[in-house]
């Protein structure tokens, strides 16, 4: 049996503003190591909400979340930050780089925060990641000097820097044109196939979803197809 990286057990989530509405209803599923999973569903069905919970950024929910076999229930804010830093790479729909830093530095920051490698090693590793994504030539530019597609690739490189257990993406191609979107997809495919990287990607693109190992389909806060 393959190793479970992430497990959701009976996750429920409600918003109370302005009235209480339940958004996620009894979510149960697992992601195994090396799996490439996509999440699809209509707009407003709760995909993003689920992803924020799975990435430990949102702790206001019922049920249990296990990452690498450990429950996040009783972890403090600082410990959860550490989990995110070490085990989760997150790619947003908007590229969200730090404009005060160079591309290289942006990729390095989570690695420096983890403190597992020396600064030189982190830099070396960051260069490697940028090379995988084909943007090593932009390494010394400032983050705001890149195109949208390039920025998204930098964000993926940053997500990879600590060799995370799992990469999560919330419509990482949603803000890109078709060509750039294709490039980013191909990168995810490559990461999954060549590096056996575990991926959990929310998308609207059915064509893309069909090329992944598994599709989780959501509707009205429930998982309708695993």
């Amino acid at each position: 049996m393959s190793q479970i990286v992430l497990q959701a057990k009976g996750i429920n989530k409600s918003f109370h503003d302005p009235i209480t509405i339940q958004i996620l209803k009894d979510i149960n599923f697992t992601v195994n190591k090396g799996e490439f999973v996509s999440v699809i569903g209509k707009s407003g069905c709760g995909k993003s909400t689920l992803l924020y919970i799975l990435s430990t950024m949102d702790t206001d929910f019922q049920g249990e979340l296990l990452i690498d076999g450990e429950s996040t229930r009783n972890k403090k804010e600082g410990q959860l930050a550490l989990v995110r830093n070490e085990k989760i790479g997150f790619v947003f729909q908007f590229h969200y780089l730090l404009n005060e830093f160079s591309v290289l530095r942006n990729v390095m920051l989570p690695g420096l925060k983890l403190g597992k490698y020396s600064e030189e090693e982190v830099e070396h590793r960051a260069m490697q990641k940028l090379k995988i994504l084909g943007i090593e030539n932009e390494a010394h530019k400032m983050a705001n000097q890149l195109s949208g597609g390039q920025k998204q690739r930098v964000a993926i490189a940053r997500a990879l820097i600590n060799d995370p257990l799992i990469i999560m993406g919330d419509e990482p191609t949603g803000n890109l044109d078709k060509k750039n979107g294709k490039i980013v997809f191909d990168i995810f495919q490559e990461l999954a196939q060549e590096f056996k990287q575990t991926l959990l990607i929310v998308t609207h693109d059915n064509e893309f979803a069909n090329s992944t190992d598994r599709i989780i389909e959501m509707e009205d806060g429930r998982i309708v197809k695993l």
Binding site: M57, E77, A81, R84, Y96
Partner: protein, 419 residues
Amino acid sequence: MNIKLLLTIAKSLLLARWRQTLVAAIGVTFSITMFITLLSFMSGLNDLLDGLILNRTAHIKLFNEIKATKDQPIDLSDKFKSSYHFIHSIKPSNARQEIYNNGAILKALNSDKRVKGIAPKIIAQVFYNVGAIDITGVINGIDVEAENKLFFFNDYVTAGNYIDLLNVPNSIILGKGAAEKMLANIGDVIQITTPKGDRIQLKVVGFFQSGLVELDKVQSYCSLTTTQKLLGKSSNYITDIQVKLNDMTTAPVLAKEYANTFGIDAEDIQTANSQFETGSSIRTLISYAVGITLLIVAGFGIYNILNMMIYEKMDSIAILKATGFSGKDVNTIFVVIALSIGFFGGLVGLLFGFGLSSVIDQIPFNTASLPTIKTYPINYNPKFYTIGITFSLITTYFAGLFPARKASKIDPVVIIRGK
């Protein structure tokens, strides 16, 4: 490792908005500059005004006051102890201003470890003869060298040489005002009348200017021996002993002790000049109040700018948090930003403050009443600099604390979803 990383992040955020940072830092620099200058100047002025009195005033003055005896004769009799005393005002007789047995007292004081130095003195009432008119005057018979050492006598001798009092027999240093009244110049011989009616001629060797005009119209200085001679007294006659202590604050206690052991009157400087202490402490208080107000205003500036910066950096903060920086890390980053504005702004403020005080120190300040002062007084006490930098760090720390806490509480989900 972690703190070093947070420092570099803080630095990048600061430099990315260097204009804002500069404005905040200039606020701090300005207030520290003013704080240092104000305190240095005020305190210089205080020292000057205090010095006007304190330099020339003995910490303890020992003398014999002419007064009725505390124990009236009738009190001494046991017989009338429980009776009402009608006779209660026996006046002093045989009043002598002389300090008896002063040789022994001087010796005892000289060997007292708490005493920095002593200067014996004779105060003699005289008349200065100006043509047919007599002007009242006071001649201070002084131990010239001791007086100079303890009370900076030379500083106040504006013309002539103070040591001539010793070198020239029957010489006098006249108060500036008295000299003007008598139209006396250095080298002239003036005539005075002693309390006993003797007329004595004295040679003017200098002028004395204390800064207190009324005083200078009356006071003059002679050596101890000249004064003893003109009063017709023996060479151990003195009326006052001026004591300077190592620690001025002990004066009230020691004055009591000396009064008891020597059986004479003793007056301490605090009692004699209480108004000066109050004056300087209030001036100091005002300068501190103004300086600290300036700093607090600068603190609000920093608070505003940090708040704005945090508002602008919401996205960055969200990203830092999403990629594994904790709320505490974010808090540290913003506190470091605030503190570095305070530290560098404050440091430059110290330099500017020093510069501005030195400039003020060069501005000519000539006044007839202060012969030794040529420029505005400045006190370069390192204490002000320490207080300045400490306060700038403290205010900026508090100014940064609340924005930093706000930043650390930012929920990345809200920011990311908000896009």
